[in-house]
């Protein structure tokens, strides 16, 4: 098991290098001179050239990337922001907890809603509850985060004044964004749980459990659930990544000072080191979560654990 985890972690490295290369390339070909962006509208050409040279932007692509990759992968040095000259790593680390909390609360909300509703829906297939739950789930998936955020602000902040509309300092601040970001995931998890549960309920071993004289509730909770959870766990893992991405929009709507907002601003400002660092951070987090999901599998499903040797 440990060896397996070790190997998986080693395998992360090439993925991250790939991620950094792609992002670097994208940002490199992105039109717009970071120097010009930084200096603002009233800068002169001479100043821009001067800054370009200072930033090392005149070096060939491969030299620039090489320099970056070397610093990141050998010394965990993400460099300094073009815009603020602050250490990218520090900037990310201070914002990371915010984004992670946002995504994690979102996932938590999603799991707390999604799994129970999914189970009930599956066990009461085609009932009123099932139909209603599926409709809501679909609506949840269909509602764009940013729209939902706006509507939530409109209703709960502007209209009712229950929650603050921006920032992320107190638990009160977290409620609307977390719900906003969690809804679509809740919907996904509900649907996944339901269909996985329906699949499992048809299996022979469920029939076996019933044939033992087991109570229906226990058949569901003891036999079906654990088996049904396996694909759901993947979805939860994927949702986490999706939410990390979704944070970009949600943080914009709610002015939350997380990595997502930072990314959007940095991309706009062509703050290449910051974008690089941020995407790498998110990719790393996402990969680690996926690794966690895989390990979790082992605990849920002994068949998979056997393969981890």
């Amino acid at each position: 098991m440990l060896k397996y985890i070790g190997r998986r972690i080693l395998l992360l490295l090439p993925v991250l290098i790939g991620v950094s290369f792609i992002v670097f390339t994208l940002m490199y070909i992105t039109p717009g001179d970071p120097a010009a962006m930084q200096l603002g509208e009233q800068a002169t050409e001479r100043e821009i050239l001067q800054l370009r040279e200072q930033m090392g932007l005149d070096d060939p692509f491969i030299v620039q990337y090489g320099r970056f990759a070397r610093d990141v992968f050998t010394r965990a040095d993400f460099g300094r922001s073009y815009r603020t000259n602050a250490l990218v790593f520090d900037e990310l680390i201070t914002r990371f907890p915010t984004t992670l909390t946002l995504a994690a609360t979102g996932v938590l909300v999603a799991v707390l809603i999604g799994i129970p509703v999914g189970i009930i829906s599956a066990t009461k297939q085609y009932s009123l509850f099932d139909n209603a739950a599926m409709m809501f789930a679909l609506l949840g998936v269909s509602m764009p985060n940013f729209f939902q955020g706006l509507v939530a602000i409109l209703i709960f902040s502007v209209g009712l004044g229950w929650f603050p509309s921006s920032g992320y300092s107190t638990p009160m601040h977290m409620i609307l964004p977390a719900i906003t970001i969690g809804t679509s995931s809740a919907a996904m998890i509900t649907r996944m749980t339901r269909s996985s549960m329906l699949e499992v309920i048809r299996q022979d071993y469920i029939r076996t459990a019933r044939a033992k004289g087991q109570k229906e509730s226990k058949v569901i909770n003891q036999h079906a659930l654990k088996n049904a959870l396996i694909p759901v766990v993947t979805v939860i893992g994927l949702q986490f990544g999706y939410l990390l991405g979704g944070a970009v929009l949600t943080e914009t709507v709610f002015s939350i000072n997380g990595i997502g907002l930072l990314m959007v601003n940095s991309i706009r400002m062509r703050d290449l080191p910051m974008v690089q660092g941020g995407v790498l951070f998110i990719a790393l987090t996402f990969s680690v979560i996926n690794l966690g999901v895989d390990i979790l599998y082992g605990f849920i499903d002994p068949r998979i654990k056997a393969q981890y040797k």
Binding site: P31, G32, D33, A35, A36, M37, Q38, L39, G40, E41, Q42, A43, T44, E45, E47, I48, Q50, L51, Q54, R80, R83, T84, N85, A86, L87, D90, E91, T94, R95, S157, V158, G161, P164, S165, S166, G167, T252, V253, F254, S255, N257, L261, L262, R268, R270
Partner: protein
Amino acid sequence: IGCGDEAATDTLVVAQGADADSLDPHATNDQPSSRVMKQVYESLLNQNEDMELVPGLAEEWEQIDELTFEFKLREGVMFHNGEELTASDVEFTLLRALESPDVGHIVGAIDPDGFEIIDDYTIRISTVEPFAPLLAHLAHTASSILNQTAVEEHGDDYGENPVGTGPYMLEDWTRGATIELTRFEDFHGENGKMENITFRNIQEDGNRTIELETGEIDIAYDILPTDISRIEENQELELARDLNFSTVYLGFNTEKEPFDDVRVRQAINYAVNVESIIDSVMEGSGEVATGPIGPMVWGANEELEPYGHDIEKAKELMEEAGYEDGFSTTIWTNDNQLRQDIAQITQSQLEEIGIDVEIEVLEWGAYLDGTAAGDHDMFILGWVTVTGDPDYGLYALFHSEQFGSAGNRTFWGDERVDELLDEARRSAEPDVREDAYMEVQEIVRDEAPWLFLNTGEDRTGLRSNVSGFRNHPAGHHPLWDVTIEN
């Protein structure tokens, strides 16, 4: 921890739309940073809200010759790190500023070899050429005086560890969220009124208003035009509206047909209903611009007659110019909501005189390159006369030596204007300068290389219990005298 109401009154919370990039005056020139730095640093001179030069770190100054000024520094001025300000800090600071791509142009007139330290409190600064606006430039936040020891000690991280002589010093900075300043008790002048000032970054413009309404913040900068009435009608709030140094214009590429014809340019000035643009896009904020610089800038010509909205006149001029059937052209703009909105309205209004406009939204770098190279037809830009001196607002934009990236993207030049601008830049006589600038503005108005749009304003929302705040036309407002009443 005991952060009750009592403590709250000791802290002034100010919100703006972005975090400061850096608190190193030489590393950035953006407004959010300047607004913070204004509280932390001082310059040799200050410009008050009425744009008069008043003593800052320099108690007095005099012009020695055409090129040289001598400054007498205040004695006993302490930096936040406990060191005393001396003339060498001034030389060090300005030399460092000269090197900076971000603010170099502000002090660019200074001769790097032209510093002369007479004693610890006396320094002479020379320019390469005669440069009348030097004092105004030295009053800019980019010319804030830094402490040499602190700069050298922190190196690359100086931007997060600023050391100035101002009434407030940096206590804590959560990147992207808040900057907390605390009173510098050894300030040489009258101490700041509030114990702490917190700058909050609230990027979403509407949210600043909301939080001002809920009382989470005391001062909100850059209130949306759409929120003006909301604040004005609210008993608990006040709105400070004052014109500032900014101008928005739509430029013509006068090297290209048909904009090489002054009649076409004038026709467009007549055809566009600027007032309606200001009303719809900017909710009537600011004023219709009548010339290239707004009334807050010293030497602004307030006698200029606005073109006004006159379709008939416009059509006449078009006909005279031989464009009775109009023509097709483009408006360039960058990814800026306001400018895109302006472009859209202009587009639909120009249809009336037969001009068929296509809007091209360019990415900022491409926009700059294209307009510098003269690939454009019409374009929308803004300009802030940061020093409050007309030289800054006119020279780069209308001098024929400044074509392209240097600032004159209309490629419009006029010998008389060149002459006047040069003269005003050199002259030490304010009257001579003023006369020259008046004439320049008249010519520019008549020749219309721009469609004059709008002089901007600062809109600062205040809780009613906040007193002592005044907008500074440069956009960075000193908060030393602000108090909150209970």
